[in-house]
Amino acid sequence: MKYWKGIEELESAPEFMQSAFAEFMPVKESHESKDDTSAPRRDFLKLMGFGVGAAVLASCETPVIKAIPYLNKPEEIDPLISNFYASTYFTGSDYNAVLVKAREGRPIKLEGNPESPITKGGLSARAQAAVLSLYDGGRLQHFAIKGQKAEMKQVDQEIRTKLAGTTGRIAIVSHTIISPSTKKAIAEFAARYPNTTHVMYDAQSATGLLQANGGVVPGYDFSKANVIVSLGADFLGTWISPVEYAKQYVVNRKVSTNKRTMSRHFQFETAMSLTGSNADVRVPVKPSQQGAIALALYNAVVSGGSVSTSTPYGKQLATAAAELKASGSAGLVVSGSNDPAVQSLVTAINQALGNGGTTIGTASSNVRQGDDARMAALVNDMNNGSVGAVIFYNANPVFNHPMGDKVKAGIAKVPLTISFNDRLDETGSLCQYSAPDNHWLESWNDFEPKTGFLSLSQPVITPLFTTRQAQESLLHWAGNNTTYYRFLRANWRGITPTDAAWDKVVHDGVAMGTALPAAPAMTAMSAAAAASQLSGAAKQNGVELALYEKVGLSATGCEANNPFLQELPDPISKATWGNYVAIPRAMAITNKWEQGDVVKVTANGHSIELPVLIQPGQTNGTVSIALGYGRTMAGKAGDKVGENAAPLALMANGIQYMNVVTLEKTSATSPIAQTQTHQTLMDRRPVVQENTLANYKKNPKEVTEYEKVSTPDGMEAPSKVSLWQDYQYNNHHWGMAVDLNSCIGCGSCVIGCQTENNTAVVGKQQVINRREMHWMRIDRYYSSDTHKSDFDTKGKVATYAAMEDPSENPQVIFQPMMCQQCNHAPCETVCPVLATTHSSEGLNQMTYNRCIGTRYCANNCPYKVRRFNWFSYYSNEKFEIVNGHMFTDLGRMVLNPDVTVRARGVMEKCSFCVQRIQLGKLEAKKQKRRPVDGEIVTACAQSCPTDAIVFGDMKDPKSRISQLLRREDGERAFHSLDSINVQPNVTYLTKIRNSESEFFGQEA
């Protein structure tokens, strides 16, 4: 029997037979090839040989490196020693007292100022990233006339001449200004030009709230609240003063064996917000229902009526009303609505609760002062030609005001337009004159965020560009040639009469005292009028839109060109780089939309096209879009990221961040760059644990499930059996504890880590490719309706599939995830070159210069916290725009000189901020003592506004972490994935929920 290989063998063709029995087909030498395009192999080898030789020869030359000392060294600066200066971050949204870490005069990192009685050392993600904005190449680097570079003198002269000749109204448009001296400077300008009016507006307006409270924001104190009812106010994420509120909120959320109580938090909101995800009871409602809810709550609490339970939210509202009433002065109602009627009722409820002096403090807040009506009037005036001059003071209403188009048209009709904006943005580019303001890190200024609480900002670097502080420009044009510092100092004579007192305030950054003039009174609507207005409100039909602000980017859009913030994953959706239309799952199913399908959203005759994102918890029949995106003139990184949703807002009784919209699917799709695409935990309790307050009260020892593994001696703790030898730590043993009860998921730590550790920004496409570089992420898990208990009824496969789908209104849990610094690290055992090794202090060390990039370690890491450098982010021009801080000389000034910028092809990961550990140890050694607890903290622990992260030496029995772990051992302390016995040095504390837990199925 013979099988032929093919027809050729059967025919025994001579060409075939020639090579029939050879193992390989003969290879044609390519230099004989007639094909000119194929590269001749030998020539290639010759060339390559020469090339390598030449490169080696050329690289043998040692480059000459210069060492350039100061000519006259400032006394307080020692090269490579960080100096800290107290300052203040406030860009019109949230207020943060900061400490600026400066190296040789370059600010490189912002940290919270623990001296501040308001933010108490906390820092928001936006403030963390603000240092990058200083070195933003998109800033306007000189004065300009019609966008063309001009001399400061010439600009001054022309402006003064024109101002003197102006007959109509002169308007200064700004966001909320909380600086007493700036207001004084404006007043001085107004005294010189009497037609001047100062118009403030806020991109996320709180006019309704101001009107209901006599022109100020009440001084909320969440720390004293036992029952919190929030009607759409995202007070932990974006509303008014999130860091301050988060600090307060968490006081009453932390639990321990000795304190088994916590506040109860109800949230009635449309989009799933950061605050909603932390609430004990979250109720999805439509924006148009906020009025009815406020009214029902008012009727229940103030008038003593009962809440109708016929509405979808009725049951929870009834509970909220009952608990609120019971809590009395320890109750607090807040509302994010900008409707004066709603806010009037909320004020009335709070008054009825008698919480003045407890949950509403006496010191009112000044961080929102914008008046929608005045702004709207100005826009109309500009259009009807009665405005002679307008000065935009770091305000960009063309972009972020709902009437942006009208502002744009109005600017063209105003004879003199001046912009202080830091760049030629949407508004600034339309103005005749640009007199760019200094960055706040280059400026002197004072602030009064709350009545009686002052703080200062001081310049940490000389202005990088030929800019001038806006206040100084105003004074200059008013004929006062003093510097703003002198002006400010003179204003502070009353508070700090002596130089010593002044120096102390500059040193501390904060002071007590009042300097801001009283806010103009606003007339509040009476509760009765409000009630009647709301009860008469027409019912909305159609899809409702809720406009919201992202934790990363404010509604002003002023941080748009900050790549750190663009790449900060949204705490809830985990989306980066751009906004989207958040839709409920039901809407996606009925319309057959899929995530990433682009829809056209139309309202007010204006439409934008954005991809949809299926958002669990989004109220049925509503969609949400984030404000602050879609800049067109922000700079290279910020332009054309998302779409501007501001024009979709409803203009009625001020600006209402809601509307009725029509949605229409387009044929386009646009991928959304999310850093987490798995939504649920699928009942995997070993990953993250939670339990209810009721159980915790009963027995704190039973709220955490400790895994056991089978051993010959029966079920034992996983650590009882091990293949590894244990390390012994003689000196230090660094450890971290993360209290999941305190963590609100705000993402401040993510940015803190990024600025500290020179982490690259990778851009949208690389995030889609799952190659983001953040060393620290916050995993967000939704609860699912399906649990393992459904195995019997639904079958295993179907159950598992269903378990991947989050509930319609899921409970949320956040878990900050960084390198767990395992004592039995799986990554260490697989590295073929010992690039990742264990230290004698319990750290899992990563040595970049040894790493050859096999990525075995990342493969073997159960927590997936290792990041691989796929590109040279500092030199590959693909990343020039998003990763500018590693590209240009300007941007590189922000890099932390203590941390290596990693090269392509190496693995990197959280190091427990080993540079800080080493520095702290060295300081202690120099002073011949042991390090003090709290002296060495990681960037994440330091930036946490809720003190959820505790870092310290577990070898020191008196350290906070040792005490915490001793206390919580067997109660809430657990390790993620304990059963694999990698023995992490990061310990989590079980989340305790003050409501029924839906996360895990009932135990069988």
Partner: protein, 443 residues
């Protein structure tokens, strides 16, 4: 019988030559191993076995010698060696030269002794270019232990000179070849000389005998052709030259040498030891630090507190040079820089790669090291050059050998106790406290 003996004469000669060479080689090897022991495990190895064996010679007890060893390396070794003159005089035989009662005040404060007009002290001061020995805050007991250590080390060859040798330019055994015989025992020398003499006598005798026999044989007429052939046979050098075995050996040796040299030169890429660039201003450390004894930290202001020692800013120069040598053209360059507000661009000599973290204060303030330990005899440098290799191997070596400076530092108190209870025998070195872990220098 005779013929056989005669035929083998050249072979015998060859064998003799080879044996001789072999013995020499063996002795050289032996010398090299001795040398190696002295250099690589360096200070620690020398401290333990060598000194434990030595007490009889030194007269001190082992503990004092061990303590003296550490103190010597921490304080004296920057300038002194025991058996050779480095910066200061060789200290070997110091007890024979000076009594301990003289040494104590001298070490504690040499300038005071010089000022008191002590004859020996003044002579010594002048002999060493009026270069003062800095004063040391050591106790009497500590000084005696140093002296005990020195006495125990006397007579050992220069190779054992610990830190200095470890820092010497040709650090890692590259110097093994030079002066290898120096370490060999005295017996070996005598034995070698005797052997050589015996061999020469043997060879000469054999040659004489051979020639005599040849003459005798030539005189005989009854020899046949074959015998004559043997008689007239000469050693064929041509054949030797053409031997493939020899060619092979030579070829292999040549290739190995080439490979070794090649690897050495490749390993030296990026190594800038000895780098001595011309600086924009001809500043002399010899004048400032050497002759004028200006403390290093006077100009390098942050050497005790910062990562960087700080290249002095022009205002520090002006502290003195606003008065001194104002007419010097080099000093005028500083004036010009200040007038033009253009800082002086020095050429950086010591360049570590960005991936390596080094902190001066850790080594000066905490470890108490002298600048010279790494920077060499900076006080003698007219133009500064890179003295140490600054390679990772160089760093690690020192971390392995250097005992931690734990004295009066509460940071280390418990660690020292722990170390002493566990393995008191081994010194508590930097690396035994985790000083050779990756993330101590790389992050």
């Amino acid at each position: 019988m005779n013929s056989i003996r005669l035929r083998s004469l050249p072979h015998l000669l060859l064998a003799l030559v080879l044996t001789f060479a072999g013995i020499q080689q063996a002795s050289a090897q032996e010398a090299a191993t001795v040398k190696k022991e002295g250099v690589t495990p360096g200070a620690t190895a020398a401290a333990t076995p060598a000194t434990v064996a030595a007490p009889a010679a030194g007269g001190g007890d082992a503990a004092a010698i061990a303590a003296g060893d550490a103190l010597f390396k921490g304080n004296c070794a920057q300038c002194h060696a025991i058996n050779e003159q480095v910066v200061g005089p060789a200290l070997g035989g110091i007890t024979k030269r000076r009594p301990i009662s003289w040494l104590l005040p001298w070490i504690k404060n040499s300038s005071k002794v010089v000022a008191s007009g002590d004859e020996y002290a003044v002579a010594l001061y002048n002999k060493f270019n009026k270069q003062q020995m800095p004063s040391f805050a050591l106790s009497d007991k500590e000084i005696t232990s140093i002296v005990a250590y020195i006495t125990s080390e006397e007579g050992k060859t220069a190779a054992v000179a610990g830190v200095t040798a470890g820092n010497a330019p040709a650090a890692d055994g590259a110097a093994a070849g030079s002066g290898a015989e120096a370490g060999a025992g005295k017996y070996m020398d005598i034995l070698l000389i005797v052997l050589v003499v015996v061999l020469i006598v043997l060879v000469v005798t054999l040659v004489i005998i051979g020639n005599l026999m040849k003459d005798v044989l030539r005189g005989r007429k009854d020899l046949d052709g074959r015998d004559i052939e043997i008689l007239e046979q000469r050693f064929d050098w041509g054949k030797f030259y053409r031997s493939p075995v020899l060619r092979g050996i030579v070829g292999v040796v040549f290739a190995l040498v080439l490979l070794y040299e090649g690897v050495q030169s490749v390993m030296a890429v990026g190594l800038n030891q000895g780098y001595q660039p011309t600086q924009p201003i001809a500043f002399s450390h010899k004048l400032h630090a050497g002759t004028n004894q200006i403390n290093c930290a006077y100009c390098h202001t942050s050497v005790y507190k910062s990562k960087s020692a700080n290249i002095p800013s022009a205002n520090i120069c002006m502290n003195c040079h606003s008065q001194i040598k104002t007419e010097s053209p080099e000093i005028k360059k500083i004036y010009r820089a200040i007038e033009r507000k253009q800082p002086i661009q020095w050429v950086r000599i010591h360049n570590l790669p960005d991936l390596a973290y080094f902190n001066h204060s850790q080594h000066t303030q905490v470890a108490g090291l002298q600048c010279q330990t790494c920077h060499g005899p900076i006080q003698n440098m007219e133009v500064v050059y890179q003295y140490s290799a600054l390679t990772m191997g160089w760093c690690i070596n020192c971390h392995r050998e250097m005992p931690l400076n734990t004295k009066d530092n509460k940071y280390y108190d418990n660690l020292v106790k722990l170390h002493d209870t566990k393995n008191a025998g081994a010194p508590f070195t930097v690396s035994s406290n985790g000083g050779t872990e990756c993330s101590k220098c790389h992050y």
